[in-house]
Symmetry: C2
Subunit: 795 residues, 2 copies
């Protein structure tokens, strides 16, 4: 296995073909530079004047010519082989490039008719770029043909693989910038080669673009010896094809040859795997493209080298409005693309420019995979009620909620074999979703041993110890019109905080773009949560992801805390039907008491919040105190506290409220799920103490309710960053969230409990000491505590 140096001779392109590719490239480069600089005179029909120049020069020129070069060449192979291909631009700050090509292909004017494919449209195209009220400077949701935002770097290759899964005819060309290649997520994304199936999946064609510099620094992969680079890429499982140079004419030949070779190899891999019975992991081709940064731009400015250096990263000529020499240099640069050959007198691309490109949906800017909502089909969902746990009386039987969910997910997978995937960092089984392995395998293309468990080349459970890959793959899968679920430890989902933020921003933006069709929601299942990581210790105890989620727009974020198996089923069904949201479900995997029958669970989840009458003693009248809870363990402790209160204060009117949908706590002016104040007041009262046992950091409840009338009465217990390796009940005690402490909180806040109050309070404090002593002595919780069940039946 040797890396190939692409050779010019291999593809015999005619002069016309080469000319058309070069014309497209020059046109795209012209349009890219024009977007950065011009607000008028787009075709240089008169000498460039300072008034033609934008007052504020923004944009990234450095990467744009390379992105355009790839685009022009990919167009040729798409047309030649009628390929179904999309283009992921890792260096997405090269926004001008993506926009330029979409405009040349006509797509831009189709979705934005005011940016017509003529001189007036070209002027608008230039003017709007990085302009107030215009379009972003980077590749963005507004850019046709993109599923990948060009802001935070590192996720292009994971997105590309996500798009390719279950799209057997698709090729995803993915430009990886040499800057981005230094990020962790990208560095591990190369190993996606061990997970993509040449039979059932499409192909990813990575193009590692070495232009040498990041912002001010060289890029690591551009500065290691070629043999080391080749070893690295072969180590990732690729066969790299090298294309290197700066002479456009030569480079066109080399790149055309490299792409033909890569496409041929992909076809051969598919043929072998699909028709010739080949098994085993193929060595997928990839391209290493080494070109100067800011290629074809100014070679020198003010005596300093620019092309091929870090100075070409953004705007290579910065003083155009003030400095006539810079203005002249810009004019010469733009004229070097010979715009008069590229655009007719009306500003339309000439036929020579448009000789090679694909048409219709084959245009990468118009390929429906890059607007996945167009392809989205509803999931076939089994009736979730079928999987219900029988609950004759609340709080008397136990179930592992995620195990029940696993059976449901098994059948979701079975009914949707090509459009539903589960990702996770090797926790699907430990999260007790193992039933899914009755319907599918774990995706795996590397070597297998007899001792392996449910590995298979076509598996639809994607397990890799990289939350970044789990998230990136799933994002790519969803954005191309499919469905899925990411299951993870609650603490470690913070690893993808930044990716969540970016995906949420994508959704926030696409909701305002009519031609972007809704996609399936991104669903998180956070099991192995803070209260049941007593065995793994402090590092595994962090419920703060909810706080990160809540900073994003209310229109797109949803947080669910189903307290038992049936509520989890109901919530999961709801989430899998939803669109354009991020749904976070926090649910337990350990055996937990069943509170609601399915007939009770469905309306409770539909309302998202409600009084549990059977647990309350207020008889529908004004309570003396409200016990509220959100989360499974917190619900358990709250109900156990309600039990204690019945025993010790039989006359106390206690109302128990359970919250499944956290968004209900916000005012309806803040979130579409928010309760109107009147309804909130009817539940929580405006003047009675509320003891709120919350799954996460307590501040979140204050943040959601600070505008409520009764907010000053709400006392929240939650995780206060206390933990270690200990027992489950010790965990809640460490955070003052245990049943005994909740009763103490009630005693401290409800006036008029009478003479017994002090004594009961002392008994609670003693019970805490006894519980701790038992734990220390026996190494496990007092069975009277851990075995507690609800003794009161229905009221």
């Amino acid at each position: 296995m040797q890396p190939a140096e692409a050779s010019e001779g291999r593809v015999m392109l005619t002069d016309d073909e080469l000319g058309a590719i070069d014309a497209w490239w020059r046109a795209a480069n012209y349009l890219s530079a024009g977007q950065i600089y011009l607000r008028a005179n787009p075709l240089l029909r008169r000498p460039l004047d300072r008034e033609d120049i934008k007052p504020r020069l923004l944009g990234h020129w450095g990467t744009s010519p390379g992105l355009n070069f790839c685009y022009a060449h990919l167009n040729r192979v798409i047309a030649a082989h009628d390929l179904d291909m999309i283009y992921v631009l890792g260096p997405g700050h090269g926004g001008p490039a993506a926009v330029a090509n979409a405009w040349l292909e006509g797509t831009y004017s189709e979705v934005y008719p005011h940016v017509s494919q003529d001189a007036a449209g070209m002027e608008r195209l230039f003017r709007q770029f990085s302009y107030p009220g215009g379009i972003p400077s980077h590749v963005a949701p507004e850019t046709p043909g993109s599923i990948h935002e060009g802001g935070e770097l590192g996720y292009s290759l994971a997105h590309a693989y996500g798009a390719a899964f279950d799209n057997p005819d698709l090729i995803v060309a993915c430009v990886v910038g040499d800057g981005e290649a230094e990020t962790g997520p990208l560095a591990t994304s190369w190993h996606s080669t061990k997970f993509i199936d040449p039979v059932g999946d499409g192909a990813v064609l990575p193009i590692l673009h070495l232009n040498g510099y990041k912002i001010a620094n060289p890029a690591v992969l551009a500065r290691i010896p070629e043999e080391e680079l080749v070893a690295l890429l072969e180590g990732y499982g690729h066969r790299p094809i090298l294309v290197s140079g700066d002479d456009p004419a030569k480079m066109h030949g080399l790149m055309a040859a490299a792409l033909d070779e890569a496409i041929e190899e992909i076809s051969e891999i598919r043929r072998q795997a699909r028709h010739a019975g080949a098994t085993g992991r193929p060595r997928w081709p990839m391209i290493v493209l080494r070109t100067p940064k800011g290629w074809t731009g100014p070679k020198e400015v003010d005596g300093l080298p620019v092309e091929g250096t870090w100075r070409a990263h953004q705007v290579p000529l910065a003083g155009v409005r003030e400095n006539p020499a810079h203005l002249a240099q810009l004019e010469a640069w733009l004229a070097s693309y010979r715009p008069e050959e590229l655009f007719d007198t009306d500003g339309r691309p000439r036929t020579g420019v448009l000789a090679t490109p694909p048409a219709g949906d084959r245009r990468m800017s118009a390929n429906p995979h890059a607007n996945g909502g167009l392809l989205l089909r509803d999931l076939e969902l089994p009736g979730f009620r079928t999987y219900a746990v029988e609950v004759d009386a609340p709080g008397t039987t136990s179930t592992e909620p995620t195990r029940v969910l696993g059976a449901y997910l098994r059948d979701v997978i079975a009914a949707n074999p090509d459009s539903f995937r589960i990702t996770g960092p090797d926790e699907t089984a430990s999260n007790r979703l193992s039933a899914v392995f009755e319907a599918t395998d774990r995706a795996w293309q590397a070597e297998t041993l007899a001792t392996d468990d449910h590995l298979g080349p076509h598996g639809h459970v994607m397990e890799v110890l990289s939350e970044h890959l789990c998230q990136g793959w799933l994002e790519g899968y969803l954005l191309t019109g499919r469905h899925g679920l990411f299951n993870s430890y609650e603490a470690f989902i913070h690893i993808v905080d930044a990716m969540f933020n970016q995906h949420a921003k994508w959704l926030e933006t696409t909701r305002k773009i009519p031609w972007r069709r809704p996609v399936a929601s991104l669903n998180y299942l956070l099991s192995s949560h803070v209260w049941r990581q007593d065995h793994n210790g402090f590092t595994h105890q962090d419920p703060g992801f909810l706080d990160v989620v809540m900073n994003k727009k209310p229109e797109i974020v949803r947080v669910y805390l189903p307290p038992d198996a049936n509520t989890l089923l109901s919530v999961a069904d709801h989430c899998l039907r939803s669109r354009d949201y991020v749904n976070v479900i926090v649910a337990g995997k350990q055996p937990a008491l069943d509170w609601l029958s399915m007939d009770e669970a469905v309306p409770h989840c539909t309302r998202g919040i409600g009084i549990w009458d059977w647990a309350s003693t207020d008889d529908g009248t004004e309570p003396d105190v409200v016990l509220a809870c959100a989360g499974d363990i917190t619900t358990l402790e709250t109900l156990a506290a309600a039990d204690l209160l019945r025993r010790h204060f039989p006359d106390l009117r206690v109302r128990v409220i359970n919250v499944v949908d956290l968004m209900r706590l916000q005012p309806d002016t803040e979130h579409p799920h928010g309760l109107p104040d009147a309804e909130f007041d009817a539940l929580f009262t405006t003047d009675r103490p509320v003891i709120f046992a919350f799954h996460g950091y307590p501040y979140l409840i204050h943040r959601l309710t600070y505008r409520r009338n009764g907010h000053h009465n709400i006392h929240v217990r939650g995780y206060k960053e206390e933990g270690t390796t200990t027992t489950p009940f010790d965990m809640v005690m460490l955070n003052d969230l245990d049943r005994f402490h909740l009763v103490m909180d009630v005693i401290d806040r409800v006036p008029g409990l009478g003479s017994r109050a002090a004594g009961v309070r002392q008994r609670m404090a003693d019970a805490r000491l006894r519980a701790r002593a038992h734990t220390r002595e026996h190494g496990e919780d007092d069975p009277e505590i851990s075995g507690w069940t609800w003794p009161h039946g229905e009221r």
Copy 2:
């Protein structure tokens, strides 16, 4: 360059030497298994009884024997070559291994005298492990010899490099688990080879431990062909030495030979670089160790294979208390280590076991580098007042705050050439800290070109496009007793949310461990913040890191928002002197008005919050309204609003409060910096409207102040997730945080403004429309707005 297969023959170890290594290994394995299972009968002096077994079996056996194997062999080379070495355990869930070796070395009993090195101590050692009130199940701050927590995976190698920088005599042995190797951060950490200096830095010796399985899945790197693995590691810049097998006797020979070879290569690299004038990046050795998971543990349990499979990951015999066959199997397993040969009748390790190990500070468990506070020296800090900007009148001159800071940091670097580093993802220059390059270079060991800027092999600015590496390197550097600063875009610091969480938890825990000495604080400088990413667009606009930070314990988190250059200097000096904190500084890099002279800045920063009398019109009496601000842009808009209010409502008593230290807002019961209620009330009043212009998401201010008496009067403006590519003033307008809107907020909340109020309100609304129209027309902000200065002088 060929990978080496370690060969037995190379090192001629005597039988005694081999015997001692094997004895140590067996002892450590015995102690590891003992911790997982036993609460009594630690030396098996009587037949094992079910009552000897812990009721709850927790711990990770699978990785432990491999970690012990490395430890035993590293001890031999340490002793043989008098090496200064520490040990980073990537698979830190193998907590029993780290503890076992520390106990064998005597360190454990030195720091925890009750866990003595005898039978009673061994029983305590076993009993405390993963036990309530005992020690965590993973490697943790409580574990002597560790700078690396074994919770979240992915950061071992970055920590190892951080420890090695500027420690020229140190070797950091770093075991990388094959699970961890799949994470993004680890995958890019290998490229640290391009940043470590063979002259001024120590060495990292990675030991990639392939035991084949993660939790339920195989590991990718264990399942690719060896030639592919070797290519990958060579591609990372290493020369791998392969050690593979399962026969202990053979493996001892192979590992000893491999380690001798690696140590010899490191010595030779150092000699060449330090004494023979070699330049260029060396190919550092590393070891690939392939052994069965759960090596030497049960081969089969209940007829299913365990050793060498995923079933060995945690507790291989789970039913010991209930199942007599399991109990017998455990006893046989423990006996297979021949404890009677290893421990004398008092339970002390016999001299045969202790033949090889290093002594004193050479013990990896006692090496002071792994308790960096022992080595920490105060920074030599130049007087920060020297760098002050002259401010004759507030708000009339402009400065780029980070540029001023850059000069200060330059001199910090110059004065502390071996103990201060700046990390960042290629933004040091763009964050305008470029003065530092007058004192040092960017660290760079790869190829250089003439067009490169300030690269050098000994540079102390570490730039790589991986926030994970920036954070991981700096953590390793700090934990081994040095100082530093991480500068980053505000939005993308979310990339390391999870790493911040884990480091914060480390600090939270170490504060309770007396023998852990305080280390320098982790300092973040977030420039390129949300309000000045108007040119980069929505993806770059996210101030939510502050919310993540605030979830950690008040004892260790600090957030500073200096509004100008002099306050930034004062804050930076304070942060660089602090210990055991995480300090987050948000500061601008764009030209911004100077508000305070240094004589004013110092007391203002010391108080952290204060009334700006010169901007207020309440004459020290009760104000009609309070304008509060935290952040540079928000301070600008607030002062501009105060100016407008003076013009339009000359009789209105306005109080302007600036907050530098966000923690001051919390009650003093919640945070050590918190203001007592009386002081808070004196500043903010309890009954006047407060319009609070906040840098971040507005909820954070509510979260900090919800317990304050006047909280219901606080109206917060902040980032509400609105943004795109636009102008700076349009950004604040999009979020209703502009001067005009703040005036409207005042009008809406202050009663009795008289008949002019409605008219002024309309003028403000019109001013917003005009500002937006100007921006749209001209592509930049109205110069009257962007050029505004404070016109009132001192009062």
